[in-house]
Point group: D2
């Protein structure tokens, strides 16, 4: 995916990362936590232009959960309220045991997509997500079995190197779809030149999604639009609308990136178009 795709006006797939698992309503009271709140947020995000919703589950107390039944409850709410939005479950997770990481894949039906972290990362003082190759491969194998499209999460250029090696090891259906993630800790430093660097190291034929944390969300998404990529916005990654002003909703963040893409001449993909583009 390159500037030529931008010039050609290829549709951009917008993913809304609705809730995450790190911060909650204490960071932004508009962040959805319960299945019903997440379902409503998904419908509003789809209405605003999101074709995919990236979902984490939480326990009733707001803490992160990997339990299949929590994901099931969320999916039921999303399907009841939204139209055709693609559901993507997170399997990522700091400190969770490997077998627990499989649970989000086991809803009925399974999610159409699920995240697959490509390597270890540190974001805080004591914690590491190990994301060993053994876990990556076992999550992928279960995804394939259940017909779940992996969203390869690339937190730095070492993870992108692993993408190449992963494609050598495993039979991944085209198109490969990788999210390039920029932020603090051991993530790639959020700078425009670094996004171009990662894009230039993608495997041939891969599609990319652009994710910047915090105030980098909008500028890097805009650059992603210009480079022919896809974009992810939402309260999981950024709780502010602008400096000092909390976002009112996930839909508000989707709205803005849709307006920018529209000004730049790239239409936003519908869920049906996203199915085609991503090979779902």
């Amino acid at each position: 995916m390159t500037y030529e795709e931008f010039l050609a006006g290829d549709p951009v797939v917008v993913t809304a990362a609705l809730t995450g698992g790190v911060h909650g309503k204490e960071a932004n009271p508009n962040l959805p936590e319960t299945p019903e709140e997440i379902g409503r947020a998904a419908a509003a995000a789809e209405e605003a232009g999101a074709a995919v919703v990236h979902v984490h589950a939480r326990k009733p107390n707001g803490e992160r959960s990997f339990a299949t039944e929590r994901f099931q409850a969320i999916d039921d709410e999303i399907r009841a309220r939204a139209d055709d939005v693609v559901i993507q479950h997170s399997t990522g997770g700091t400190g969770a045991p490997d077998d627990v990481r499989h649970q989000p894949l086991r809803t009925d039906p399974p999610p159409e997509m699920a995240s697959l972290d490509m390597g270890p990362l540190n974001r805080y003082r004591h914690l590491t997500s190990e994301n060993t190759r053994a876990l990556v491969d076992s999550l992928f194998d279960e995804m394939r079995e259940r017909g779940v499209k992996p969203e390869l999460e690339v937190f730095n250029d070492g993870h992108l190197n692993e993408v190449h090696q992963f494609l050598d090891r495993r039979d991944v259906a085209a198109p490969v779809y990788a999210t390039l993630i920029f932020g603090p800790g051991t993530l790639t430093r959020p700078r425009p030149r670094n996004l171009l660097h990662l894009v230039s190291n993608l495997p041939a034929g891969a599609q990319f999604n652009t994710l910047g944390f915090g105030r980098h969300q909008l500028p890097l998404a805009t650059l992603g639009v210009l480079l022919g990529g896809h974009v992810r916005v939402g309260l999981e990654d950024n709780v502010y609308y602008e400096r000092g002003e909390l976002a009112a909703s996930n839909a508000q963040l989707v709205d803005r990136v849709v307006r920018v893409a529209d000004e730049l001449g790239r239409p936003v993909a519908t869920p049906a178009q996203a199915h085609e583009i991503l090979g779902l």
Copy 2:
């Protein structure tokens, strides 16, 4: 450090990574394992032009050891045989408990330099080096107390982002010295453009050292010379001299990179010059 330093003919510091802790004589029978072998290899590497030797310790059976007394035995052999070569101890290590990682700092005298891994990495199926911030900070604090210069090991561009955050958290004496490492697993993919990318993201005033695994050792070291950086070669990182031909010794690999630097017009730093350049 830039091409301007190359043009100015600034000396290049050559580090010889003599033995490592992953492969042994089964990979190359010329790889030194015992303290005496390592001491002889250090002297020969210094003779060939290395100003620094990067050292790991091994148990009598060849397995990796972090024990202070094993490093002490090696240092005694090096000091008995070499002239002024700078001794750098590895504190890196897959799977070793955090307190064990401090032991290489506790020789008498302490090493002049020690490695400090800037984040987690995966290289094989099940293993991760976690390298949490808590460990990074506690190793650094003991280094500062003992007067040991940290060699910041940067395995990908996320680690390089952590270098910036580490400099914000801790008071690191100038010049910051970072080794940029390229190889398989979650390391930056070994490509010339990727070395330029990492160099363009270094903190202002930092010096860099160039380390490519395997057949990337020489080309990336040569590029490091052209970009005004320093270089590391040796049997820890590469057991071959050329395709299908095992290296005869660490000194043979040092010899070659010294010849290349010499052809390109950059003199090789003596240990005394390395002291000045690295602020030892």
Copy 3:
């Protein structure tokens, strides 16, 4: 100027290139040609957010003119209709004799800014703009004498090399202000990575303006906003609003880039702020 300036919300100076000297109403009937039309277009562009207007003069038959009195007539119309917009005269020109190229500097008062092409370029089969160093220097000397700020026009990375050599030869007041130009012929190929390349080769402290021809105008201007630069739009460089739809006016093109900058969180500089930013 970098992404950090973008993050800091530094104002972006928008230049409107109202008319040019190559195509006329045959390309877009909304393109202003007479002094009065240009004056009205300048006022509307300022109203829309432009702080600078880039001006060419034309003969009554629409052909390009370098005559001082034609520029004088335009400036009079602009000053009668606009508020404080900065006037920038073009001194560029395919095939015009060197002495003729000085005439746009000789209005009363002189323009606040004037373009200064940094080297030769080919855009069509037989024509070359020579832009020798002798001409560059003599135009600059007259600009300095008359208090005219040079806008250094950089059509490729060789011209950018000349900027460095020009700063070595001549005493150019800070901040150096260079327009980076992308298009067909011997101009830099219009690609996002090439804009980053040029930006990375700017002299320290220089400010840059972003100019893409045709359908590259908006995407490269957007990237210029993200990189902390300034932007130029207008009918001289691009006669379309979108594919197949002619632009209604210069102001319409200014409006759009102002909306994009606003969504991205960068305010647009007023003429007063442009004076400060550009050191007028």
Copy 4:
């Protein structure tokens, strides 16, 4: 051509630029000027490892000449003394009229290769090489008619843009072969990152040759070797062996770059291999 070609050990074609047309023996008394001197220099360069000799002609007084008979005399001397070295005639030229620029193509037999400048350039105060598209096309047409392979000379990234447009206009036989040139004036600034920039903008399938003026000759040639490209050295481009020491001969410069390529594991192409690689 990329780092992968370097890793694969593909042969590097070394071109020796024996004499040029700008400076003469006043710059370096070892620079060959007469046909006999040039013939001897070609044989020595071939002996040292050059597969191609780039040739300019001079009048008896040392000034540059485009006359067919002067080229004929040189070629006769080269063929009498060298073995199989490929002869490449320069058609480039500051200020020479367009019809004169065709004369170097008209020897019997014609040269196997000839240079074709892709656009205008300034190197001194008053002079410009216009190199209009009309001239480029007419030189190319005569080359094609006579079976002469064009060496596309790219002096900056605008010229590289013209290469793409030239390939759209004319039917150029594969492989396209472009020399990337770095130096003062309106040439691309000689920096390693700028060589990577140009390489990343080459048309698919093109081969490149690396040419840095003066002290940039060796470092940029070395980088060209690492990037899988070809290299040009010689007294036309650089009269020094190292700082303050004039080169003893063209062969001395060839010798050195051959030693560097050899250390880096890339063999030097024989004239026969160059025929295959360049499609002669």
